[in-house]
Symmetry: C2
Subunit: 648 residues, 2 copies
């Protein structure tokens, strides 16, 4: 088998000459890193320690056969699990850790490992924990160690964005007290099932629950725990598993199509937190209505979106770290025509990279807010005394946040990876420099756990519903002590959201609640506004999360470092939607004209400290496997002793 | 060896119900296809015929080992060459064909084959033809049949965008009447050399020409024909060839690092159209100055940019064809909640895809103009009677066009592939549906034959120089009989270019011609404006090329079909730069506000004929290897007889 092994270069890159910054103070840098790392700092470092201890295993490999690629991702995750870095119980004890682990694994640069992680712990383990009851929790210790591998079968070939219409059935048989699982059509095959093609023993199968004695109609989609492989990995009877084959990326993941034919499972394998089927066929549910039941059952997709966003954040920090370090060491034409000037000093390079850096800072703080809101919600749910309307309000906000940040973060990850690739030129095109996996990893994030555009439809819908219910999604910035500039940006962003929301609301009102008309207007007339409203919400919340940190009085030492980035981010947001803002009299043409030069000024100001801002991401230098992040000249020396590794 | 074979589905997709269009008239459609295919129609079809005759060979394969992947690309190109679809002599006899072949090979969906093609015929063959003299042309017949394979070694590890500073030397030895080729440092390795790692027998090596009896200084960069492999593929003495390894895409291409140590070649192997070294060391050159000599020697990069743009155009047409056909057959939630509505009918899908379709039409016509201008220039150069100032003026325009269209087209190809992938969801993520190769293929295009951003610096520089020399780059639209709307857009685009040009010119004037100051302003203060000026030029020319076709009186039947696309494209261009246009009083805020609804109207109008517009691309249905472009339900049927091919 041919392979290309990557050797980490341990040589540090000397930063471009630059004016001094508060970040050259070690203490300030450490404070920044601590802030950016958000929570579970020790555990994050533990993950990196494990990767160091198993350096060979975690070294990226390319041009490996599919089976070997999957074995690599499996072993990487198994090694992390054996290190005890995460548990399914964290959803109750320490939810933020679930997401932080995703980010740290994202930093390790293999989206395949991160994807297997998220299915095992969030979709499979999390569903077992939250939709199952005590009798289903027995295997959680083996899930934590990855000894029992699980998968999650919601999506069907024909039903991606309309899963409530799925066709797989679980029919109750009172004679044997079992459910019988069937996929009646090609369109009802379970599709894209991560961990399914090689490793999973268990599958949470979503199916239409049918109790013939009650009705031939479904009682709605419910989750069932189904064994699909024996412990020795033989596939169980009635289960057909087909490998999805080669993908544009993430080939460490063993995605499968699953097909069930008369697969019988004990009645107790219905995950029965929401609905119960009693012996003989009596049906009870705490939730009325098929669609509502589905929404509750698919709840784990919510935390799933935070998991995806977290791993996207990790891979974005990695990509930017690699690109900036190369930019600092790559010399090209200077004032005299000689190749003596680091490309990091070019305004072109700074204008490409610094906006991505600023957005990554903003999204880091937005991520922190989302994680903590999610954790708060989980804590509230454990609290028997918590008032229902408080839970409902928080659940509403968490729903909005999860559906807002995943699209924003995954698109940002795609743009970042793609632009970093481009700005590193040919070097960026070599697989060993890791932008390829970042681009295709981001693509997986864009349509995983809900197509980004569909999630933004959800955000817009929830915002309109929320207005009707009188929910406020956030207070605004004015009272946080923020400076005039950010307060103004925040006001503009809030106003934009309200105006776009009102415009969409007015269009929807005209439908008179007629469902055909609602479809017509929502899907065929106002698609642009629907997306814009969600974007306005997401960007406003992200900006405010960033501003909250910058103006936190405990952050005084960091303020001079963070404020120009916040300022830059605010200008970027306004500039991006300047056409709408000026057309709606929120900015004057003159103000619009002042945005680009002001951005340029901020980019030049922050760009000279590019390397220090990247250090804030705290990506361990010794785990930067990309040769261009280190001494790439030596790496390319034909006389270098370890040279043979490059040949394939 | 594991592999995934793709089976073409021959089943046609029924278009979404739609109002009738002039394009349902067979004759109109054929006229459109003929127009879009531009030139060399028979040869284009011959390429598709060869692919059909060698269907197995041209069927995309994934998860193949690197060596096998390269063998595939090699055999595909060899088969096309044996079919006689292109000759190096076409640069003189029929230049448009060189580019058309690139587009058609792009449509076949393997960027690796297209890349090997462009190096063999343009960079290697073309340089041999145009910089060599009769004595070098003997091997051209074997280059045409791909029996003798060539490569082109300009780029060095340390000198990508500053190749004039390269370090490889060719030193004349009067005792043996030979040149001695040397790479003195790791940075001077020839890097990224396509065809180098496995197949090339010959290499055009660019090196600093040193004639010790004249000077220890270089006489400038010159091209030398160097044998690097014997006919049996053994590597020649003194040549070290290292495989570049796995890349993020284009893995059918055998890229190499080449290192030369004391490699001796006959004096006659200097390609001596520009400079000659006589026996004993007398040096003559038709061009004065090192940098100017380099520019002339690297001339083949100009046509190379049209080659890259052409293959990008082909892959873009393919990606859109696949995405639209899937959109027409993929059913999702409809007015009643059932999955009964093709996603092509969603405004969301139309708003994602139709702007790409409109831009692809525009770029097709822009491409046609560029090809024909290039052909005109080559014809003029053959014509001994042609006046020098006419050649100079045309060369100036061709230079601008080549440096403008390659960036525009390759970025468009990247965005198209990426958005098509996203809008096809999970299906788009399967390698067999071909968006992965399209994304990474586009990335190769973005930095090949000149980094896009560097080329746009070149465009801006040439535009400023041209203004000083009094060159006009084009007449404008007003006198073409175009309607009021397009004339207005064209005027705005022309005005924008002039204003941005003036602003940049004014900044540069302030430098007083001081070279340090020029660098400071160009590279560190006005980088945004430099890029914007080039973009303004490129977009103006592209829009005008489109408008010229639409208002060509011979195109009357097509006008109702093309005009709304032109209109949409014009609105897109204005909207993209609305912030600048409104800040500079070229649009009022109200006019800016009218752009999005008007775009939406045009998208809805054209979107209902999405399928017909795609048919205009004339991508052969039986060569659409992506399963989702055909009957993907049957392809996924677990009971399908040929099912076994999917397993890996």
């Amino acid at each position: 088998m041919h392979r290309l092994e990557i050797v980490a270069a341990h040589v540090s890159v000397s930063p471009a000459a630059s004016a001094s910054s508060p970040l050259s103070d070690r203490e300030v840098m450490e404070q920044l890193q601590h802030l950016m790392d958000a929570d579970n700092h020790d555990n994050r470092q533990r993950i990196f320690r494990i990767a160091r201890q198993h350096r060979d295993l975690f070294t990226p490999r390319f041009n490996v056969a599919l089976a070997a690629h999957r074995e690599l991702a499996y072993r990487r995750l198994k090694t992390l699990c054996e290190g005890g870095v995460v548990s399914v119980w964290d959803f109750i004890r320490n939810p933020a850790n679930v997401f932080t682990v995703h980010e740290a694994v994202g930093i390790l640069g293999d989206p395949g490992t991160a994807t297997k992680l998220t299915v095992q712990f969030n979709l499979f383990g999390g569903t077992l924990l939250q939709l199952g009851t005590d009798k289903h929790h027995g295997i959680i210790p083996d899930v934590d160690t990855f000894d029992q591998v699980g998968c999650f079968a919601l999506t069907e070939l024909g039903f991606g964005n309309n899963a409530v219409e799925m066709q797989t059935t679980a029919t109750y048989d009172p004679h044997t007290d079992e459910f019988i699982i069937n996929c009646p059509t090609p369109l009802s095959q379970k599709y894209w099932i991560t961990n399914g093609a090689q490793h999973a023993h268990w599958c949470v199968v979503f199916a239409q629950l049918i109790i013939p004695s009650l009705s031939s109609e479904s009682q709605g989609v419910h989750p069932f725990l189904v064994r699909i492989r024996h412990n020795d990995r033989r596939v169980c009877e009635g289960v057909t598993i087909e490998d999805m084959g080669f993908k544009i990326g993430n080939n460490g993941v063993d995605n499968a199509k699953l097909h069930f034919q008369d697969v019988r499972i004990p009645r107790e394998h219905l995950l029965d937190r929401v609905s119960t089927v009693h012996k003989g066929g009596k049906f009870e549910s705490t939730v009325q209505g098929r669609r509502q039941r589905f929404v509750i059952q698919a709840d784990q997709l919510l935390s799933g979106r935070l998991c995806i966003a977290s791993m996207m954040l990790g891979q974005t920090k990695l990509a930017l770290t690699i690109a900036v370090r190369y930019s600092q060491s790559r010399l090209c034409v200077g004032p005299t025509g000689k190749s003596d000037t680091a490309i990091a000093e070019y305004q072109l390079q700074q204008q490409a990279l610094m906006p991505l850096v600023a957005a990554t800072y903003a999204l880091t703080f937005f991520m922190t807010e989302c994680k903590h809101k999610y954790a708060q919600l989980n804590a509230l749910r454990q609290d028997k005394a918590a008032p229902k309307d408080q839970i409902d309000a928080l659940r509403y906000e968490v729903l909005l946040l999860c559906c807002a940040i995943k699209p924003m973060m995954s698109w940002h990850a795609e743009r970042t990876a793609s632009i970093c690739r481009e700005r590193c030129g040919g070097q960026g095109y070599l697989a060993c420099n890791l932008f390829g996996e970042a681009i295709t990893g981001a693509h997986a994030g864009i349509t995983a756990e809900g197509d980004n555009r569909v999630l933004w439809q959800k955000v817009a819908k929830e915002l309109l519903d929320g207005v009707q219910k009188g929910w406020k999604n956030r207070k605004g910035l004015a009272d946080t002590g923020a400076g005039e500039g950010p307060v103004r940006v925040s006001r503009l962003l809030a106003k934009r959201e309200v105006m776009k929301g009102r415009a969409l609301g007015a269009s929807m009102l005209k439908t008179g609640g007629n469902s055909g008309q609602i479809f017509e207007v929502w899907m065929r007339q106002e698609a642009r506004l629907v997306q814009e409203l969600a974007e306005a919400f997401a960007e406003k919340r992200c900006f405010e999360a960033f501003a909250d940190v910058v103006f936190d009085t405990k952050m005084r030492k960091l303020q001079p470092v963070l404020l120009p980035l916040l300022d830059l981010y605010g200008h970027m947001l306004l500039h991006k939607d300047a056409a709408w803002l000026v057309a709606n009299s929120l900015l004057t043409p003159q103000e619009v004209g002042e945005l680009p030069p002001e951005q340029d000024r901020l980019i030049t100001q922050t760009g000279q400290h590019m390397g220090e801002y990247i250090e804030g991401f705290n990506v361990p230098k010794d785990l930067l496997f990309a040769p261009i992040a280190g001494d790439w000249v030596n790496y390319n020396d034909p006389k270098r002793p370890m040279h043979g590794e490059l040949t394939v």
